[in-house]
């Protein structure tokens, strides 16, 4: 850890020097447009600036430096002071200019004048718009319907999300629904059940010698892709004489697979079984880290609880059920390969097993992830170089709790509309995919208003059609999107958000070695149009509503709220920016755009886990206790009750096995006879949700591995294609139980014979000139099924058939 910190600081120093040097010669270059022939026009002073900010085009939140000439951003670069992206940017970040200068951006607040979706709008002023919203919200509140307001947020800004949550609490609605549980629920929940951290974890890949990737597109669309790409270099070339082996276990040959040493195609969703078979070999051949397992894990051997009841241990379960030969057919991976992988993984420490969309984004993702995570425990990869580290946060000032009146308290106690945390979805915190059914049923109540912030369910959810129907039932819908998207097109009111280069924000980007990072986002240019930061809008709206809601927002402006949070970082006097006065701190933070601090040293005496046992739990007591508590809350209890409850949750295992990592088949819709193929959807490096859909630079390089651009495609194994009578480049229909879409067939040796792959990002029905009507959206094929345990949707397990169009 120390070494890496010193390295960072060294780089930071060099970078600061370079930055000062680099600004000078700008005076010598560039030219002056006649219109700006101002006196003493000096590009150095007026024409060219370097402004630090933070990218927002994916969750990695890279720190950026914008080159601004004459008030126009002409180039974006990575900020070399940032410990996570170290001055680098991915293609999306580089194309940010085309997001900012997208000719099809929404330019001002608009009110719908025709019927919904007719595309007829009138321009309204911000005060008008805010008044309308506050009046309508006030009316609902007065009628005691505050809890029927739903605010759906995506990965826009955690800080603004905090403000929105605060607003909702003060207003009196429990329905702040985040969309991150669509696919990632399994990860965070499994981390919680096994490791006690209800969050993502950091992998210190830089020091690893062996990486087993279970469907993690770690080179394309994982957590912190730009950093992971650097870590690839570290693993390959960073250490003399050492070259890590990377194994990609994935149904499709992705770009990540191309960068791995070995690609192991696996039947979609069977990753958990493979992980357990690997565990079988490791345990059977006693290759596991016995010291670690003995000292830091719980439930490995058979054990007895306080009541003297005998429980099944992980070892017994794995040795009994998951011999490679038994898993061979399920996963499609030869037993010999499994044995080889297990031996390599266990004998090349530090080794780590990571997982992503392939392994987790299934309805059985939770157990898959638990099984995969157990491999890390078997080789003891926790809190040590090359292991799993806990992420840390900057010391923000906590806000005062919001002021609640009786309405707010009453509303807050209402059940959530999405059912998260209820008996049906005991461990889910947000399940936006459950909303349409709830809305259509009108249970537990009918929502009266719905707000969307960085959320476009009509495009990005499985069975997007459902959301369209549901939306029609809601009297008021408001979108904060800066772009015209499917959801925005169906809205009554559009309050366009300022783009990330035009607004203030703070971000806490993840980092592989667990650094705490504060990324400041500041306006690089003034907003190009009459748009406003949603954070600002929330503060104004609260003030407009007045009462306790207004009191809950004691700041004069959004920026004040932001500064108050950052003050905690200033007061902590640690990390890269330590200054005697706030002014200096703030000026430097604006100049550098980033604050970071090295993570705390690993605890002496080995890793500590925040689980009930304080150890890594093979047998998850948290899962068991959680279920019992949920049952208790609902009034039922007893072990019989747990069995029945498990059944109602769709868990097939009974008894101890349900709390141990085990393999459960994922839910599939459709008959195999009718839909013989499995659809795997994937994300590329070049696509990032609706906000990047209308970027020509991205569309023109969309799928480098198949040389596809400007259109969506479906990857089919040539053998399968021959059987289907499909030729390369032909239009084909891909049909599932819930819909069918047309795409160009791409014969691809990297597709499994029984699997077809389709990329995300295409098939917008609304949007800009380049995104609208281009390609097909695979989400329209996915049935809206999800795991009751955590709310995990299935992204790679839909049965489809393919035929010529």
């Amino acid at each position: 850890m120390r070494v890496s910190r010193r390295r960072f600081l060294g780089l930071a120093g060099a970078a600061a020097g370079a930055a000062v040097g680099a600004t000078f010669p700008q005076a010598l270059l560039g030219d002056m447009p006649p219109a700006q022939a101002a006196e003493e026009f000096l590009p150095l002073v007026k024409g060219e600036r370097q402004v630090s900010s933070t990218c927002a085009l994916c969750d990695a939140r890279c720190s950026i430096v914008a080159r601004v000439v004459d008030g126009r951003v002409v180039k974006l670069e990575g900020n070399i002071l940032a410990p996570h992206n170290l001055g680098r940017l991915c293609p999306k970040g580089q194309a940010g200019l085309q997001v900012l200068y997208d000719p099809d951006r929404l330019r001002w607040p608009m009110r719908r004048v025709g019927p919904r979706g007719s595309g007829k709008w009138e321009r309204v002023s911000w005060p008008q718009a805010l008044t309308q919203v506050s009046e309508q919200l006030g009316e609902l509140r007065a009628r005691g319907l505050a809890h029927t307001v739903v605010f759906q947020v995506g990965n826009g800004s955690h800080f603004v999300e905090g403000l929105i949550g605060r607003f909702m609490t003060a207003y009196g609605s429990p329905n702040l629904v985040h969309q991150h549980h669509l696919g990632a629920a399994a990860t965070t929940l499994a981390n919680y059940f096994s490791q006690g951290v209800r969050d993502f974890v950091s992998y210190d890949l830089a020091h690893d010698n062996y990486v087993l990737s279970f469907g993690a597109s770690f080179m394309e669309a994982w957590r912190h892709t730009v950093e992971t790409q650097r870590l690839l270099g570290e693993m390959r070339r960073g250490r003399p004489g050492l070259r890590a082996k990377i194994v990609q276990i994935d149904p499709r040959y992705s770009v990540s697979a191309s960068k791995a040493d070995e690609w192991i195609p696996i039947h979609p969703g069977s990753d958990g079984a493979l992980a357990l078979a690997l565990a079988h070999v490791i345990i059977a051949e006693e290759l596991y880290d016995q010291d670690f397992v003995r000292a830091h894990t719980f439930g490995f051997e058979d054990w007895r609880d306080k009541g003297g009841l005998a429980h099944l241990g992980f070892k017994t379960l794995v040795l009994r059920d998951y011999a490679p030969a038994r898993v061979e057919r399920l996963t499609g991976i030869p037993a010999a390969t499994i044995t080889k992988l297990a031996r390599e993984f266990a004998t090349n420490p530090p080794a780590v097993a990571i997982s992503g969309r392939g392994g987790e984004s299934q309805t059985n993702g939770l157990y898959n992830r638990l099984a995969i995570h157990c491999l890390n425990a078997l080789v003891g990869s926790f809190d040590q170089p090359g292991g799993i580290l806990t992420e840390s946060m900057p010391p923000f000032t906590p806000w005062q709790p919001p002021v609640l009146d009786a309405t707010a308290r009453a509303g807050g106690e209402q059940p959530r509309l999405d059912g998260a945390g209820s008996l049906q979805l005991p461990f889910a915190t947000d399940t936006s995919q459950a909303l349409p059914e709830a809305i259509l049923r009108g249970e537990p109540y009918s929502p009266q208003a719905m707000f969307f912030y960085y959320s476009n369910p009509l495009f990005s959810r499985p069975q997007a059609q459902l959301h369209r129907e549901a939306l029609e039932k809601i009297p008021l819908t408001v979108s904060f999107s800066p772009f015209m998207d499917e959801t925005t097109a169906q809205s009554d009111l559009v309050l366009p958000d300022a783009l990330y280069l035009e607004r203030w924000d703070v971000e806490t980007p993840p980092c592989s070695d667990g650094c705490a990072i504060l990324g400041l986002r500041q306006p690089v240019v003034a907003p190009l149009y009459d748009v406003a930061s949603t954070g600002e809008v929330m503060v104004r709206l609260a003030h407009e509503m007045g009462g306790t809601i207004g009191e809950s927002f004691p700041w004069g402006s959004y920026l004040e709220a932001l500064q108050e949070s950052c003050a905690g970082v200033f007061l902590a006097k640690r990390g890269t920016l330590q200054f005697p006065t706030w002014e200096e701190f703030w000026r430097e933070l604006k100049a550098q755009g980033i604050w970071w601090d090295a993570p705390p040293l690993p605890p002496a005496g080995g890793p500590k886990f925040a689980t009930p046992s304080g150890k890594f739990e093979f047998y998850s007591q948290a899962l068991e206790m959680g279920l019992r508590e949920a049952l208790a809350r609902s009034g039922a209890a007893g072990s019989q009750g747990v069995e029945r409850y498990l059944e109602s949750l769709g868990v097939q295992a009974r008894g101890d096995e349900a709390f141990l990592p085990h393999y459960e088949p994922g839910l599939r819709a459709g008959e195999e006879r009718e839909y013989p193929l499995t659809l795997v959807t994937f994300k590329t490096m070049t696509g990032s949700g609706s906000r990047m859909a209308n970027v020509p630079f991205m569309l023109e390089i969309y799928g480098p591995h198949v040389r596809k651009k400007w259109q969506s495609w479906v990857e089919i194994n040539p053998e399968t294609a021959r059987r289907l009578g499909v030729r390369d480049g032909e239009q084909v229909w891909v049909e599932s139980l819930v819909g069918r879409i047309k795409a160009v067939a791409k014969l691809y040796e990297g597709a499994m014979p029984e699997v077809v792959n389709m990329p995300y990002g295409f098939g917008h029905r609304e949007g800009g000139r380049w995104s609208r009507g281009r390609g097909a959206n695979p989400n329209e094929l996915l049935p809206n099924i999800y795991s009751p345990l955590g709310g995990n949707s299935s992204w790679s397990g839909t049965r489809v058939k393919v035929y010529r169009a």
Binding site: A27, L28, P34, A38, E39, E40, F41, L42
Partner: protein
């Protein structure tokens, strides 16, 4: 014989017409500036760099704005109606919409600073602009001293060559 005459006549008409068009092309016309600044009056008193201060520090020579004019014209140094116009601009805080006369084709890189630093006189490129009451013919809206394209390049090139400055294409071409 008649045909020959007709033909020859045609040729003559064509040539004459072409010449007329060329000689009266717009870039030779007078430029209407918002203020009819008289270089001849100012140059005996002021150095070029007093007003075009950009030459010493940067890319563009820069054309002064009203506040710079007002350094002198604050006092009633002139009764010219043009000076009065400057005052109006200064008082209203408006920018004077000068029409740019010297502009290079946009694939070219040129910075005044290094040339001035090397001791090059303004006149070398801009001619005797200081003695002109109004800048008129021979000064293109593109190029220097009416030199454009190859002629201009030849001029730059010979000077660079003589002084041992880089004559690499990318030194001057973007």
């Amino acid at each position: 014989m008649k045909e020959t005459l007709v033909f020859m006549g045609g040729v003559v008409v064509l040539l004459a017409g072409g010449g007329l068009v060329l000689t009266t092309s717009p870039w030779q016309a007078q430029v209407e500036q918002p203020i009819a600044f008289n270089h001849a009056k100012h140059s005996p008193i002021l150095a070029c760099t007093s007003c075009h201060s950009g030459v010493e520090v940067g890319v563009a020579a820069t054309i002064p704005q009203a506040d710079k004019c007002m350094v002198c014209h604050q006092a009633p140094v002139s009764s010219s109606p043009e000076a009065a116009k400057v005052k109006v601009f200064a008082e209203q805080g408006r920018q004077i919409p000068w029409v740019r006369l010297f502009d290079l084709r946009d694939d070219l890189i040129f910075a005044h600073k290094p040339h001035i630093q090397k001791g090059l006189a303004c006149q070398t490129c801009h001619g005797d602009i200081g003695s002109m009451a109004r800048i008129t013919q021979g000064f293109g809206t593109e190029g220097v001293n009416g030199l454009r394209g190859r002629e201009l390049m030849a001029r730059c090139f010979s000077c660079h060559q003589a002084r041992g400055v880089s004559t690499d294409c990318v030194t001057c071409h973007k």
